[in-house]
Amino acid sequence: MTTMTCDAIRDSLPEFVREVLPAGKMAVIESHLATCAECRAERDVITVLIRPATVPAGLEERVLRAVRKQWRPTFSPGRLAMAATVVFALVTAGVISQMGLLDSNSRAVEDLAGVTSVDWTRGDPVLLRGGLDLGALSEDELLKLLEEMDS
């Protein structure tokens, strides 16, 4: 039978205790342990250490709750303020754009008919909202928009 040094035996003891070594090597180590008190003492320590811990009741649910919390966008005051700023900017940009469009239209009308002023507020309400009808968006679409603004 092949022999192994104490060092080689001790290197393999965790796998020996787990019984995951090939049968031949298991037999060599068993035979060595029968005659070597030092290696047996090490085997005994490892045998006790190797037992798995019990996972505390409720830990899995607690961790899964924490993981699910990471999935939900949070509405912190900072994020809401940023979202409000971006929405305001979009609306303002839409209004300015609409004003510019109507201004050029009004100049054309003045040229053609001698009209002195145009009431631009009678423009398309969708355009006046910046072309983005927030009220028509679902909650999911709003959340997605917030995520895009965050990224």
Partner: protein, 180 residues
């Protein structure tokens, strides 16, 4: 690669792509091992639960950076070691961490007499584990309890394979002396 390896790789790909079921499956699959490692490093079940949660959240958050150079398990255990060290330092500043490993090993398949003996012995040895210097303790736990090779232990502890081997042997030798 084995079927189990393919399954794990596919699961990680899905989790990385944001599949919530895949992420939960990964958590369920690895939480026991993550907790066990944190507990043996820290020696306190409550603090170890915090460390396990922190490790899992960190790992899922960093999943897009996992490139598969190491195995997912080794990568996760490395994150767990770091989370355990952070929690241990945080708790040590607040109060003395109590070693409460004594009564928490699984003995469910044993008869009552053997269970009593094993619990007493496990408590004694585990308490002694807490007396080892941190690097020796981590090398022993990763090698004995997680079944990692010296190369993997070295990778997790940021040291060479040889240093991992020396730390492991010094740790076990010290444990034997303490037990006798």
């Amino acid at each position: 690669m084995t079927d189990a390896g393919h399954d794990e790789t596919a699961l990680i790909d899905r989790a990385r792509a944001g599949d919530r079921d895949a992420q939960e499956t990964l958590v369920r699959r690895h939480l026991g091992e993550v907790f066990d490692l944190a507990w043996r490093i820290i020696g306190d079940r409550d603090v170890a639960q915090d460390a396990a949660q922190e490790a899992i959240i960190s790992a899922l958050g960093a999943l897009h950076r996992f490139r598969g150079d190491a195995s997912f398990r080794t990568w996760l255990l490395r994150i767990t070691v770091n989370a355990a060290k952070t929690q241990f330092r945080r708790q040590s500043r607040r109060r003395e961490v109590k070693l409460s490993l004594a009564l928490d090993v699984r003995t469910d398949e044993l008869d009552p007499a053997a269970e009593t003996m094993l619990r007493a012995e496990a408590g004694r040895v585990a308490g002694l584990l807490g007396q080892l210097p941190p690097k020796q303790r981590m090398a022993v736990v990763l090698r004995v309890n997680r079944g990692l090779s010296y190369a993997e232990v070295g990778e997790i502890l940021d040291c060479s394979e040889g240093a991992a081997r020396v730390n492991y042997h010094l740790g076990v030798k010290r444990l034997r002396e303490l037990v006798q």
